[in-house]
Protein backbone atom coordinates (compact mmCIF):
# COMPACT_ATOMS: atom_id res chain seq x y z
CA UNK A 1 0.00 0.00 0.00
CA UNK A 2 2.72 2.38 1.08
CA UNK A 3 4.73 1.31 -1.95
CA UNK A 4 1.83 2.14 -4.25
CA UNK A 5 1.50 5.62 -2.76
CA UNK A 6 5.23 6.08 -3.00
CA UNK A 7 5.30 5.03 -6.64
CA UNK A 8 2.44 7.42 -7.49
CA UNK A 9 4.37 10.18 -5.75
CA UNK A 10 7.59 9.34 -7.57
CA UNK A 11 5.86 9.24 -10.94
CA UNK A 12 4.21 12.58 -10.29
CA UNK A 13 7.50 14.17 -9.29
CA UNK A 14 9.26 12.62 -12.30
CA UNK A 15 6.51 13.87 -14.58
CA UNK A 16 6.70 17.41 -13.26
CA UNK A 17 10.49 17.27 -13.41
CA UNK A 18 10.41 16.23 -17.06
CA UNK A 19 7.93 18.95 -17.83
CA UNK A 20 10.30 21.47 -16.26
CA UNK A 21 13.21 20.14 -18.31
CA UNK A 22 11.06 20.35 -21.45
CA UNK A 23 10.12 23.97 -20.71
CA UNK A 24 13.79 24.80 -20.17
CA UNK A 25 14.59 23.07 -23.47
CA UNK A 26 11.90 25.17 -25.17
CA UNK A 27 13.44 28.32 -23.70
CA UNK A 28 16.90 27.32 -24.91
CA UNK A 29 15.49 26.69 -28.38
CA UNK A 30 14.02 30.19 -28.48
CA UNK A 31 17.26 31.74 -27.22
CA UNK A 32 19.24 29.94 -29.93
CA UNK A 33 16.83 30.81 -32.74
CA UNK A 34 18.95 33.64 -34.12
CA UNK A 35 20.57 31.26 -36.59
CA UNK A 36 17.19 30.86 -38.34
CA UNK A 37 17.22 34.54 -39.30
CA UNK A 38 20.86 34.49 -40.37
CA UNK A 39 20.52 31.32 -42.43
CA UNK A 40 16.89 31.03 -43.55
CA UNK A 41 17.76 28.15 -45.88
CA UNK A 42 18.07 25.90 -42.79
CA UNK A 43 14.43 26.64 -41.92
CA UNK A 44 13.36 26.21 -45.57
CA UNK A 45 14.68 22.66 -45.54
CA UNK A 46 12.67 21.86 -42.44
CA UNK A 47 9.52 23.45 -43.86
CA UNK A 48 10.00 21.08 -46.74
CA UNK A 49 10.43 17.96 -44.63
CA UNK A 50 7.78 18.81 -42.01
CA UNK A 51 5.31 20.74 -44.16
CA UNK A 52 5.57 19.83 -47.81
CA UNK A 53 6.02 16.12 -47.14
CA UNK A 54 2.89 16.16 -44.92
CA UNK A 55 0.80 17.74 -47.67
CA UNK A 56 -0.60 14.56 -49.15
CA UNK A 57 -1.98 13.14 -45.92
CA UNK A 58 -3.41 16.56 -44.97
CA UNK A 59 -5.05 17.20 -48.35
CA UNK A 60 -6.58 13.74 -48.67
CA UNK A 61 -7.82 13.64 -45.08
CA UNK A 62 -9.25 17.15 -45.42
CA UNK A 63 -11.17 16.14 -48.50
CA UNK A 64 -12.68 13.08 -46.84
CA UNK A 65 -13.53 14.85 -43.60
CA UNK A 66 -15.29 17.57 -45.60
CA UNK A 67 -17.20 15.00 -47.65
CA UNK A 68 -18.37 13.23 -44.49
CA UNK A 69 -19.38 16.56 -42.99
CA UNK A 70 -21.37 17.30 -46.13
CA UNK A 71 -23.25 14.01 -45.89
CA UNK A 72 -23.88 14.10 -42.15
CA UNK A 73 -24.69 17.79 -42.11
CA UNK A 74 -27.21 17.42 -44.90
CA UNK A 75 -28.92 14.53 -43.12
CA UNK A 76 -29.43 16.60 -39.98
CA UNK A 77 -30.19 19.95 -41.60
CA UNK A 78 -32.85 18.65 -43.94
CA UNK A 79 -35.03 17.55 -40.96
CA UNK A 80 -35.27 21.26 -40.15
CA UNK A 81 -35.64 22.24 -43.78
CA UNK A 82 -32.48 24.32 -43.76
CA UNK A 83 -30.22 22.48 -46.19
CA UNK A 84 -28.92 25.82 -47.49
CA UNK A 85 -27.07 26.27 -44.21
CA UNK A 86 -24.84 23.32 -45.14
CA UNK A 87 -22.08 25.69 -46.30
CA UNK A 88 -22.08 27.42 -42.92
CA UNK A 89 -22.00 24.17 -41.02
CA UNK A 90 -19.16 22.73 -43.04
CA UNK A 91 -17.09 25.91 -43.00
CA UNK A 92 -17.52 26.70 -39.30
CA UNK A 93 -16.82 23.16 -38.12
CA UNK A 94 -13.68 23.06 -40.23
CA UNK A 95 -12.29 26.51 -39.62
CA UNK A 96 -13.00 26.61 -35.90
CA UNK A 97 -12.35 23.02 -34.85
CA UNK A 98 -11.67 20.21 -37.26
CA UNK A 99 -9.13 22.04 -39.40
CA UNK A 100 -6.68 22.94 -36.62
CA UNK A 101 -7.32 19.85 -34.47
CA UNK A 102 -7.33 17.07 -37.06
CA UNK A 103 -4.50 18.65 -39.04
CA UNK A 104 -2.45 18.88 -35.83
CA UNK A 105 -3.20 15.25 -34.94
CA UNK A 106 -2.09 14.16 -38.41
CA UNK A 107 0.92 16.44 -38.19
CA UNK A 108 1.90 14.87 -34.85
CA UNK A 109 1.83 11.37 -36.26
CA UNK A 110 3.43 12.24 -39.60
CA UNK A 111 5.97 15.00 -38.91
CA UNK A 112 6.26 14.84 -35.11
CA UNK A 113 7.21 11.18 -35.02
CA UNK A 114 9.70 11.76 -37.85
CA UNK A 115 11.38 14.59 -35.94
CA UNK A 116 11.65 12.50 -32.77
CA UNK A 117 13.04 9.49 -34.61
CA UNK A 118 15.52 11.57 -36.57
CA UNK A 119 16.93 13.42 -33.56
CA UNK A 120 16.90 10.28 -31.42
CA UNK A 121 18.89 8.40 -34.06
CA UNK A 122 21.27 11.33 -34.52
CA UNK A 123 21.94 11.06 -30.83
CA UNK A 124 22.26 7.28 -30.88
CA UNK A 125 24.82 7.43 -33.70
CA UNK A 126 26.80 10.15 -31.89
CA UNK A 127 26.06 12.78 -34.55
CA UNK A 128 24.89 15.21 -31.87
CA UNK A 129 28.03 14.57 -29.81
CA UNK A 130 30.18 14.99 -32.92
CA UNK A 131 28.52 18.32 -33.60
CA UNK A 132 29.23 19.46 -30.05
CA UNK A 133 32.85 18.40 -30.41
CA UNK A 134 33.03 20.54 -33.56
CA UNK A 135 31.97 23.51 -31.47
CA UNK A 136 28.58 23.70 -33.19
CA UNK A 137 25.68 24.00 -30.77
CA UNK A 138 23.15 21.28 -31.72
CA UNK A 139 20.27 23.25 -30.18
CA UNK A 140 20.98 26.08 -32.62
CA UNK A 141 21.93 23.97 -35.64
CA UNK A 142 19.55 21.01 -35.34
CA UNK A 143 16.72 21.88 -32.97
CA UNK A 144 15.90 25.54 -33.69
CA UNK A 145 15.47 25.22 -37.49
CA UNK A 146 13.23 22.19 -37.03
CA UNK A 147 11.18 24.07 -34.47
CA UNK A 148 10.55 27.08 -36.69
CA UNK A 149 10.08 24.97 -39.81
CA UNK A 150 7.34 22.96 -38.12
CA UNK A 151 5.71 25.94 -36.40
CA UNK A 152 5.50 27.81 -39.71
CA UNK A 153 4.15 24.73 -41.51
CA UNK A 154 1.38 23.94 -39.05
CA UNK A 155 -1.06 26.86 -39.68
CA UNK A 156 -0.49 26.53 -43.43
CA UNK A 157 -1.34 22.84 -43.28
CA UNK A 158 -4.42 23.55 -41.15
CA UNK A 159 -5.58 26.15 -43.68
CA UNK A 160 -5.02 23.68 -46.48
CA UNK A 161 -7.00 21.08 -44.54
CA UNK A 162 -9.96 23.45 -44.05
CA UNK A 163 -9.91 24.57 -47.68
CA UNK A 164 -9.92 20.98 -48.91
CA UNK A 165 -12.65 20.11 -46.40
CA UNK A 166 -14.90 22.92 -47.63
CA UNK A 167 -14.29 21.75 -51.18
CA UNK A 168 -15.22 18.19 -50.10
CA UNK A 169 -18.40 19.49 -48.48
CA UNK A 170 -19.21 21.36 -51.68
CA UNK A 171 -18.63 18.25 -53.78
CA UNK A 172 -21.02 16.16 -51.71
CA UNK A 173 -23.57 18.82 -50.81
CA UNK A 174 -23.85 20.79 -54.03
CA UNK A 175 -22.57 18.56 -56.82
CA UNK A 176 -23.82 15.22 -55.53
CA UNK A 177 -26.93 15.97 -53.46
CA UNK A 178 -27.98 19.16 -55.17
CA UNK A 179 -28.04 21.83 -52.45
CA UNK A 180 -28.36 25.28 -54.01
CA UNK A 181 -24.97 26.51 -55.14
CA UNK A 182 -25.59 30.19 -54.42
CA UNK A 183 -26.92 29.79 -50.91
CA UNK A 184 -24.16 27.29 -50.03
CA UNK A 185 -21.49 29.93 -50.69
CA UNK A 186 -23.36 33.12 -49.77
CA UNK A 187 -24.56 31.85 -46.40
CA UNK A 188 -21.03 30.66 -45.68
CA UNK A 189 -19.67 34.06 -46.60
CA UNK A 190 -22.19 35.84 -44.40
CA UNK A 191 -21.76 33.61 -41.36
CA UNK A 192 -18.01 33.09 -41.16
CA UNK A 193 -16.33 35.98 -39.39
CA UNK A 194 -12.69 36.69 -40.12
CA UNK A 195 -11.59 37.59 -36.60
CA UNK A 196 -13.93 35.38 -34.61
CA UNK A 197 -13.60 32.23 -36.70
CA UNK A 198 -10.64 32.29 -39.04
CA UNK A 199 -8.18 34.14 -36.84
CA UNK A 200 -9.08 32.02 -33.81
CA UNK A 201 -8.57 28.91 -35.92
CA UNK A 202 -5.16 30.16 -36.98
CA UNK A 203 -4.22 30.92 -33.37
CA UNK A 204 -5.26 27.39 -32.41
CA UNK A 205 -3.14 25.83 -35.12
CA UNK A 206 -0.10 27.90 -34.13
CA UNK A 207 -0.49 26.84 -30.50
CA UNK A 208 -0.86 23.19 -31.53
CA UNK A 209 2.14 23.51 -33.82
CA UNK A 210 4.31 24.81 -30.98
CA UNK A 211 3.08 22.09 -28.62
CA UNK A 212 3.59 19.20 -31.06
CA UNK A 213 7.00 20.41 -32.17
CA UNK A 214 8.37 21.06 -28.69
CA UNK A 215 7.18 17.63 -27.55
CA UNK A 216 8.65 15.94 -30.65
CA UNK A 217 12.01 17.73 -30.38
CA UNK A 218 12.30 17.20 -26.64
CA UNK A 219 11.41 13.51 -26.81
CA UNK A 220 14.01 13.00 -29.52
CA UNK A 221 16.69 14.95 -27.73
CA UNK A 222 15.94 13.23 -24.45
CA UNK A 223 15.64 9.69 -25.86
CA UNK A 224 18.04 7.06 -24.51
CA UNK A 225 20.50 6.38 -27.36
CA UNK A 226 19.28 2.85 -28.05
CA UNK A 227 16.87 1.29 -30.54
CA UNK A 228 14.35 0.69 -27.77
CA UNK A 229 14.76 4.20 -26.40
CA UNK A 230 14.14 5.84 -29.77
CA UNK A 231 11.09 3.69 -30.50
CA UNK A 232 9.59 4.48 -27.11
CA UNK A 233 10.27 8.17 -27.57
CA UNK A 234 8.54 8.13 -30.95
CA UNK A 235 5.46 6.49 -29.47
CA UNK A 236 5.47 8.95 -26.59
CA UNK A 237 5.62 11.87 -29.02
CA UNK A 238 2.45 10.75 -30.78
CA UNK A 239 0.57 9.93 -27.57
CA UNK A 240 1.62 13.00 -25.59
CA UNK A 241 1.15 15.48 -28.39
CA UNK A 242 -2.27 14.08 -29.32
CA UNK A 243 -3.41 14.46 -25.72
CA UNK A 244 -1.86 17.91 -25.53
CA UNK A 245 -3.68 18.99 -28.71
CA UNK A 246 -7.07 17.85 -27.42
CA UNK A 247 -6.57 19.37 -23.96
CA UNK A 248 -5.29 22.66 -25.36
CA UNK A 249 -8.19 22.72 -27.80
CA UNK A 250 -10.64 22.60 -24.94
CA UNK A 251 -8.89 25.40 -23.08
CA UNK A 252 -8.60 27.60 -26.17
CA UNK A 253 -12.19 26.98 -27.24
CA UNK A 254 -13.41 27.86 -23.76
CA UNK A 255 -11.63 31.19 -23.98
CA UNK A 256 -12.45 31.98 -27.61
CA UNK A 257 -16.06 31.02 -28.05
CA UNK A 258 -17.51 31.54 -24.59
CA UNK A 259 -21.00 32.98 -24.76
CA UNK A 260 -20.93 33.73 -28.48
Amino acid sequence: MLDAVRSVGRRTIDGIWRMGVAVRFFGLTLVHSGICLRRPQLVMREIFSAGVLSLIIIVVSGLFVGMVLGLQGYETLQTYGSEEALGVLVALSLVRELGPVVAALLFASRAGSAITAEIGLMKATEQIAAMEMMAVDPIARVVAPRFWGAVISMPLLAAMFSAMGIFGGYLVGVVLIGVDDGSFWSQMQAAVDFRQDILNGVIKSVVFGVAVTVIALFEGYDAPPTAEGVSRATTRTVVTSSLAILALDFVLTAFMFRGV
Binding site: A130, E132, D137
Partner: protein, 267 residues
Protein backbone atom coordinates in the same frame (compact mmCIF):
# COMPACT_ATOMS: atom_id res chain seq x y z
CA UNK B 1 54.33 28.14 -27.16
CA UNK B 2 54.04 25.27 -24.72
CA UNK B 3 56.00 22.19 -25.52
CA UNK B 4 53.29 19.98 -24.07
CA UNK B 5 50.01 20.32 -25.91
CA UNK B 6 48.01 18.28 -23.42
CA UNK B 7 48.92 18.05 -19.77
CA UNK B 8 46.74 16.16 -17.33
CA UNK B 9 47.58 16.20 -13.63
CA UNK B 10 45.95 14.28 -10.80
CA UNK B 11 42.71 13.72 -12.66
CA UNK B 12 39.79 12.21 -10.77
CA UNK B 13 36.36 11.55 -12.17
CA UNK B 14 33.36 9.46 -11.22
CA UNK B 15 29.83 8.81 -12.38
CA UNK B 16 27.85 9.42 -9.21
CA UNK B 17 29.57 7.61 -6.37
CA UNK B 18 31.43 5.21 -8.68
CA UNK B 19 34.96 6.47 -9.35
CA UNK B 20 36.14 5.88 -12.92
CA UNK B 21 39.40 7.79 -13.08
CA UNK B 22 41.59 7.82 -9.99
CA UNK B 23 44.47 10.21 -10.34
CA UNK B 24 45.63 10.16 -13.97
CA UNK B 25 48.83 11.94 -15.03
CA UNK B 26 49.35 12.17 -18.77
CA UNK B 27 51.34 14.36 -21.13
CA UNK B 28 51.16 14.67 -24.90
CA UNK B 29 54.01 16.57 -26.53
CA UNK B 30 53.47 18.47 -29.75
CA UNK B 31 53.81 16.36 -32.88
CA UNK B 32 53.49 13.07 -31.03
CA UNK B 33 51.05 10.22 -31.46
CA UNK B 34 50.06 9.01 -28.01
CA UNK B 35 48.18 5.77 -27.43
CA UNK B 36 45.96 5.17 -24.43
CA UNK B 37 45.40 1.46 -23.96
CA UNK B 38 43.52 -0.66 -21.54
CA UNK B 39 40.88 -3.33 -21.38
CA UNK B 40 37.26 -2.48 -22.01
CA UNK B 41 35.65 -0.48 -19.25
CA UNK B 42 38.91 0.84 -17.78
CA UNK B 43 37.95 4.48 -18.24
CA UNK B 44 39.64 5.25 -21.60
CA UNK B 45 36.59 6.76 -23.22
CA UNK B 46 35.80 8.73 -20.09
CA UNK B 47 39.31 10.17 -20.18
CA UNK B 48 38.57 11.30 -23.71
CA UNK B 49 35.38 12.95 -22.71
CA UNK B 50 37.29 14.86 -20.08
CA UNK B 51 39.93 16.04 -22.57
CA UNK B 52 37.16 17.10 -24.97
CA UNK B 53 35.46 18.98 -22.15
CA UNK B 54 32.28 16.93 -22.45
CA UNK B 55 32.38 16.02 -18.76
CA UNK B 56 34.10 17.88 -15.94
CA UNK B 57 36.53 16.11 -13.63
CA UNK B 58 35.86 16.10 -9.92
CA UNK B 59 39.49 16.89 -9.17
CA UNK B 60 42.70 17.63 -11.04
CA UNK B 61 43.67 19.78 -13.97
CA UNK B 62 43.55 19.40 -17.74
CA UNK B 63 45.68 21.85 -19.71
CA UNK B 64 45.20 21.97 -23.48
CA UNK B 65 47.58 24.33 -25.27
CA UNK B 66 48.12 26.15 -21.98
CA UNK B 67 44.39 26.65 -21.33
CA UNK B 68 42.80 25.06 -18.29
CA UNK B 69 39.74 23.10 -19.48
CA UNK B 70 38.25 22.64 -16.02
CA UNK B 71 35.67 25.30 -15.26
CA UNK B 72 35.76 26.77 -18.77
CA UNK B 73 32.44 28.30 -19.90
CA UNK B 74 30.74 27.27 -23.13
CA UNK B 75 32.29 30.04 -25.23
CA UNK B 76 35.79 29.19 -24.02
CA UNK B 77 35.16 25.51 -24.53
CA UNK B 78 33.83 26.02 -28.05
CA UNK B 79 36.75 28.22 -29.08
CA UNK B 80 39.13 25.52 -27.86
CA UNK B 81 37.17 22.75 -29.57
CA UNK B 82 37.41 24.61 -32.84
CA UNK B 83 41.11 23.76 -32.71
CA UNK B 84 40.44 20.12 -31.84
CA UNK B 85 39.22 17.29 -34.00
CA UNK B 86 37.61 14.14 -32.75
CA UNK B 87 37.18 10.88 -34.56
CA UNK B 88 34.29 8.89 -33.16
CA UNK B 89 34.35 5.13 -33.01
CA UNK B 90 31.99 4.61 -35.93
CA UNK B 91 32.65 7.91 -37.64
CA UNK B 92 29.44 9.65 -36.53
CA UNK B 93 29.00 11.14 -40.00
CA UNK B 94 25.89 13.23 -40.57
CA UNK B 95 23.67 10.75 -42.35
CA UNK B 96 21.57 13.40 -44.11
CA UNK B 97 24.59 14.96 -45.84
CA UNK B 98 26.88 13.71 -48.60
CA UNK B 99 30.55 12.99 -47.99
CA UNK B 100 31.42 16.41 -49.42
CA UNK B 101 28.96 18.25 -47.17
CA UNK B 102 30.16 16.32 -44.13
CA UNK B 103 33.73 17.48 -44.67
CA UNK B 104 32.54 21.00 -45.53
CA UNK B 105 30.36 21.17 -42.41
CA UNK B 106 32.81 22.94 -40.08
CA UNK B 107 34.09 25.23 -42.84
CA UNK B 108 30.55 26.40 -43.49
CA UNK B 109 29.69 26.71 -39.80
CA UNK B 110 32.80 28.47 -38.59
CA UNK B 111 34.13 30.45 -41.54
CA UNK B 112 32.80 32.88 -44.13
CA UNK B 113 34.87 31.41 -46.95
CA UNK B 114 33.36 31.53 -50.43
CA UNK B 115 31.94 28.25 -51.72
CA UNK B 116 34.68 27.89 -54.35
CA UNK B 117 37.38 27.96 -51.68
CA UNK B 118 35.43 25.56 -49.47
CA UNK B 119 35.28 23.20 -52.45
CA UNK B 120 39.05 23.34 -52.90
CA UNK B 121 39.71 22.77 -49.20
CA UNK B 122 37.27 19.87 -48.99
CA UNK B 123 38.80 18.20 -52.04
CA UNK B 124 42.27 18.60 -50.53
CA UNK B 125 41.16 16.98 -47.27
CA UNK B 126 39.39 14.17 -49.11
CA UNK B 127 42.43 13.63 -51.27
CA UNK B 128 44.58 13.31 -48.15
CA UNK B 129 42.47 10.34 -47.03
CA UNK B 130 42.22 8.95 -50.57
CA UNK B 131 38.50 9.47 -50.99
CA UNK B 132 38.24 12.42 -53.39
CA UNK B 133 36.33 10.14 -55.75
CA UNK B 134 33.71 9.40 -53.09
CA UNK B 135 32.68 13.02 -52.54
CA UNK B 136 29.14 12.56 -53.85
CA UNK B 137 28.34 9.38 -51.94
CA UNK B 138 26.05 9.36 -48.92
CA UNK B 139 27.34 7.90 -45.63
CA UNK B 140 25.03 4.89 -46.02
CA UNK B 141 26.92 3.94 -49.18
CA UNK B 142 30.32 3.80 -47.46
CA UNK B 143 32.04 0.80 -45.89
CA UNK B 144 33.11 1.03 -42.26
CA UNK B 145 36.70 1.84 -43.15
CA UNK B 146 35.71 4.49 -45.68
CA UNK B 147 33.31 6.11 -43.23
CA UNK B 148 36.14 6.38 -40.74
CA UNK B 149 38.41 8.00 -43.33
CA UNK B 150 35.71 10.52 -44.25
CA UNK B 151 35.31 11.27 -40.55
CA UNK B 152 39.07 11.78 -40.40
CA UNK B 153 38.90 14.22 -43.32
CA UNK B 154 36.11 16.02 -41.50
CA UNK B 155 38.17 16.14 -38.30
CA UNK B 156 41.12 17.80 -40.06
CA UNK B 157 38.93 20.24 -42.03
CA UNK B 158 39.84 23.22 -39.87
CA UNK B 159 43.51 22.17 -39.44
CA UNK B 160 43.23 21.43 -35.73
CA UNK B 161 46.19 21.25 -33.36
CA UNK B 162 44.94 18.10 -31.66
CA UNK B 163 42.97 15.09 -32.83
CA UNK B 164 41.38 12.58 -30.50
CA UNK B 165 40.69 9.14 -31.96
CA UNK B 166 38.20 6.91 -30.18
CA UNK B 167 38.94 3.29 -31.11
CA UNK B 168 39.90 4.05 -34.72
CA UNK B 169 40.74 0.41 -35.43
CA UNK B 170 37.60 -1.24 -34.06
CA UNK B 171 35.87 -3.51 -36.55
CA UNK B 172 38.19 -2.89 -39.51
CA UNK B 173 39.60 -5.48 -41.89
CA UNK B 174 43.42 -5.84 -41.96
CA UNK B 175 43.81 -3.62 -45.03
CA UNK B 176 41.67 -0.79 -43.68
CA UNK B 177 43.44 -1.24 -40.36
CA UNK B 178 46.85 -0.63 -41.90
CA UNK B 179 45.52 2.24 -44.02
CA UNK B 180 43.97 3.95 -40.99
CA UNK B 181 47.10 3.47 -38.89
CA UNK B 182 49.35 4.91 -41.59
CA UNK B 183 46.98 7.81 -42.15
CA UNK B 184 47.03 8.78 -38.50
CA UNK B 185 50.82 8.75 -38.47
CA UNK B 186 51.17 10.58 -41.80
CA UNK B 187 48.61 13.28 -41.05
CA UNK B 188 50.17 13.89 -37.66
CA UNK B 189 53.59 14.36 -39.24
CA UNK B 190 52.62 16.37 -42.32
CA UNK B 191 50.06 18.64 -40.70
CA UNK B 192 52.06 19.11 -37.50
CA UNK B 193 49.25 17.79 -35.33
CA UNK B 194 49.25 15.99 -32.04
CA UNK B 195 47.22 12.81 -31.89
CA UNK B 196 45.81 10.90 -28.96
CA UNK B 197 44.51 7.46 -29.85
CA UNK B 198 42.37 5.38 -27.52
CA UNK B 199 42.63 1.79 -28.65
CA UNK B 200 43.08 -1.78 -27.64
CA UNK B 201 44.65 -2.84 -30.89
CA UNK B 202 48.15 -3.43 -29.53
CA UNK B 203 49.97 -4.65 -32.62
CA UNK B 204 48.71 -1.94 -34.96
CA UNK B 205 49.23 0.91 -32.56
CA UNK B 206 52.68 -0.13 -31.35
CA UNK B 207 53.83 0.21 -34.97
CA UNK B 208 52.97 3.88 -35.25
CA UNK B 209 52.79 5.60 -31.88
CA UNK B 210 55.49 7.50 -30.00
CA UNK B 211 54.35 6.82 -26.47
CA UNK B 212 51.89 4.51 -24.75
CA UNK B 213 49.90 4.84 -21.55
CA UNK B 214 48.28 1.73 -20.07
CA UNK B 215 45.24 2.39 -17.95
CA UNK B 216 43.64 -0.11 -15.65
CA UNK B 217 40.88 0.55 -13.17
CA UNK B 218 41.21 4.28 -13.61
CA UNK B 219 44.94 4.52 -13.04
CA UNK B 220 48.00 4.65 -15.28
CA UNK B 221 49.67 1.29 -14.58
CA UNK B 222 52.43 1.48 -17.18
CA UNK B 223 53.83 3.89 -19.73
CA UNK B 224 56.68 4.08 -22.18
CA UNK B 225 57.78 4.01 -25.79
CA UNK B 226 56.65 1.04 -27.88
CA UNK B 227 60.05 -0.60 -27.45
CA UNK B 228 59.85 -0.27 -23.67
CA UNK B 229 56.32 -1.61 -23.66
CA UNK B 230 57.24 -4.64 -25.73
CA UNK B 231 60.12 -5.40 -23.37
CA UNK B 232 58.07 -4.75 -20.24
CA UNK B 233 57.72 -7.61 -17.77
CA UNK B 234 54.89 -6.04 -15.80
CA UNK B 235 52.24 -8.77 -15.57
CA UNK B 236 49.41 -6.51 -16.75
CA UNK B 237 51.29 -5.23 -19.78
CA UNK B 238 52.47 -8.73 -20.60
CA UNK B 239 48.95 -10.09 -20.50
CA UNK B 240 47.66 -7.24 -22.62
CA UNK B 241 50.39 -7.22 -25.27
CA UNK B 242 50.26 -10.98 -25.66
CA UNK B 243 46.51 -11.27 -25.34
CA UNK B 244 46.54 -13.88 -22.59
CA UNK B 245 43.21 -15.04 -21.28
CA UNK B 246 43.96 -15.00 -17.58
CA UNK B 247 46.29 -12.85 -15.52
CA UNK B 248 45.94 -9.65 -13.52
CA UNK B 249 42.74 -9.13 -15.50
CA UNK B 250 40.77 -12.27 -14.61
CA UNK B 251 38.74 -14.21 -17.18
CA UNK B 252 35.90 -14.71 -14.71
CA UNK B 253 33.69 -11.86 -13.57
CA UNK B 254 33.73 -11.94 -9.75
CA UNK B 255 31.22 -14.52 -8.55
CA UNK B 256 30.66 -16.90 -5.68
CA UNK B 257 32.32 -20.28 -6.00
CA UNK B 258 31.38 -22.33 -9.03
CA UNK B 259 30.43 -25.38 -6.98
CA UNK B 260 28.13 -23.36 -4.73
CA UNK B 261 26.45 -21.77 -7.74
CA UNK B 262 25.67 -25.19 -9.21
CA UNK B 263 24.31 -26.35 -5.87
CA UNK B 264 27.11 -28.89 -5.39
CA UNK B 265 28.40 -27.64 -2.07
CA UNK B 266 25.92 -29.74 -0.04
CA UNK B 267 26.51 -32.90 -1.98
Amino acid sequence: MHDNLVEIRGLHFGYGARPVLKGIDLTARRGQVIAIMGNSGCGKTTLFRVIGGVVHPTQGSVLVDGTEMVGLDQDGLYSLRRRMGMLFQFGALFTDMSVFDNVAFQLREHTDLPESMIRDLVLMKLNAVGLRGAQDLMPSELSGGMARRVALARAIALDPMLILYDEPFAGLDPISLGVTGNLIRRLTDTLGLTSIVVTHDVQESLKMVDYVYFISEGMVVAQGTPAEIKASDLPYVHQFVHGEEDGPVPFQYPAESYAADLGLSHA
